[in-house]
Subunit: 353 residues, 2 copies
């Protein structure tokens, strides 16, 4: 079992957490001896943009398709407006590669603690985000720029195909979990078109999943439920923007955004999927060697599951959890270790496998 992985470290602390993760994965591959994995460095990001005027190469979609998966760090730099950098790189991949399912497991991790007194037993949610359309369809414009009567639009575009495929994916995800609960998040009281279509598609897809218990929730009320009744939640599905917001909230409620992983999946497997930490480029701590690599470790474990190395992924997560439980943590989690300290500790655990 041999895999070719594109590594796109990108900007900010991206290179730090990606290189930390590659060390750990290579140690794992060597120790287990059951697979090998080749990481090919791809230099896309803000430096590349400064040199070439583009965030990615001209044939980027073709060139990226040859890989089994993509390990992504972060994109965004204080030197470039965020909407340029993000649409230049990350959003230029998610939509065009039809990575329509963004999966974000959120749970209270060893070494972290939920700040909620309503969640003393911790949190264990699976968030499914539509990742190819909706509020991120990229449509809209500005007219009369600079005039007092300037008007601008942001157009959220929803298709029946787009909703149906993510809804089916979400019901299957819920079905695979012990509690088999799904909450469909919308805002169909104030948004009368695409959001009502979401409701209709949810009701129709639900008929194929009699064993999944599902409910609907407005996105505003959902935040209050996450705070007040975290145990009532299992799997959640929603639009690109709604789940962008709810997944950051979820990670914070579970204890830390520094451990939260994210998979951008093409469930049809025509395109390579992207695995990335939820945190961003975090320019405030760049170069200080304290970036928390756990979210990227966890993202890489999700990648291993996706490419077919489920056992290796479970072993890796076991090692990471033991290290975190032992208190070997970066400062954002209240620890005193640096990035390399966490890497070394995980590698030591891997050697014991």
């Amino acid at each position: 079992n041999s895999y070719r992985i594109a590594s796109i470290p990108g900007d900010g602390i991206g290179p730090e957490v990606v290189s930390a993760t590659i060390q750990v994965i290579q140690k794992l591959a060597k120790t287990l001896g059951t697979f090998d994995i080749d990481f090919e460095h791809i230099p896309w990001g803000t430096e590349y943009y400064k040199q070439t005027g583009r965030y990615v190469s001209e044939d980027y979609l073709d060139s990226i398709r040859q890989y089994d998966a993509i390990l992504f760090g972060a994109v965004g730099s204080p030197d470039v407006p965020d909407h340029i950098s993000l649409w230049g790189l990350l959003l230029a991949l998610r939509g065009p590669l039809q990575l329509y399912a963004n999966v974000r497991p959120v749970r209270t991790f060893p070494g972290t603690k939920s700040p909620l007194n309503t969640a003393t037993d911790g949190i264990d949610w699976m968030l499914v985000r539509e990742n190819s359309e909706g509020e991120y369809a990229g449509q809209g414009g500005r007219s009369h720029v600079g005039q007092q009567w300037e008007a601008a639009t942001e157009v959220a575009l929803f298709t029946r195909v787009g909703i149906e495929r993510i809804m089916r994916f979400a019901f299957e995800t819920a079905q695979s979990r012990p509690r088999k609960l799904l909450t469909v998040v919308t805002k169909s009281n104030s948004m009368r078109n695409g959001m009502v279509l979401w409701d209709e598609v949810a009701a129709s897809v639900a008929q194929d999943f009699a064993d999944v218990k599902w409910d609907k929730m407005l996105v505003d009320a959902m935040t209050a439920r996450m705070v007040a009744k975290p145990q009532s939640i299992d799997t959640v599905v929603g639009t690109n923007l709604h789940m962008d917001i709810l997944s950051d909230l979820a990670a914070a409620l579970a204890g830390s955004i520094g451990v939260a992983p994210s998979s951008n999946l093409d469930p049809t497997r025509k395109s390579p999927s992207i695995f990335e930490p939820v945190h961003g480029s975090a320019f405030d701590i760049i170069g200080k060697a304290v970036a928390n690599p756990v979210a990227t470790f966890w993202s890489a474990a999700e990648m291993l599951v996706w490419i077919g190395e489920k056992d290796a992924a479970a072993q890796l997560m076991g090692c990471v959890e033991r290290v975190c439980a032992a208190g070997i943590l970066t400062p954002d989690l209240g620890g005193s270790s640096d990035t390399q300290g966490v890497v070394d500790a995980v590698c030591l655990e891997v050697e014991k496998l």
Copy 2:
């Protein structure tokens, strides 16, 4: 000082909390003797719709303009799709009356407690929501309905005028508070038109408020900040949808959505402003006589401030806080009182003034 107030109890528990509030306000007016206030009942809502086919009367905008303010209960019924009822009544008022500033004070109230261990000193935020455009502009549509290739849009519309007026209002609000901090929430990394315009207008309006310390925050990251660093937040401004979401979250983090008030203001005072609890029609507890009236009391106090009875408002809030602090609370706050029990207790406090 004589005021004419339109009372629109609406649906669900709306009539219960509005009638509770009218009792208390009338007692206050009688006790203080400094103003009087006439509440005129307006029957708009789902029953009205069932009888007339409309949620409001045909000349509703003209007829409502004769009042000094509007006390609103709730709208929404299990019998009617939410997008019909809300656009039929509440959203038919907010936009057309140009009630562009939705103001939502959020603080840990006597009798409530933040569920966050990061907020042991409680929460005290002022949320300002753009209330006339954006994601609630009402634009968009569906094509190829029912076909596999169906597509639907939700169009968020932003105008320079709309952004400028709410931004100015928010900076003034921040300026009037002791800490003078303002956070401008956007999502200008993924939304490149109206959201970038928000950023531009914020930077330009800020120049007129040198004494306000302001920062920008992406809506997703803002949720994490609200959870992890609640003390870092004072006044917040954002779009119609973003603040819809953040204000529910804020109320839950502060301790309860059952006490959260909301003012829909026309700062130019051409239209009467609407004062309403944040909670909705809550059909699950209708008729059980346990609806929490505190959010509507607080909304009415905001109304008194707005029409010019600042002292009366402060007296009222003092009474309500003493009652809550004494543990006379409805079941949603862990108490054992019913709605009328809370009303009677507040009226007793008012008598002592």
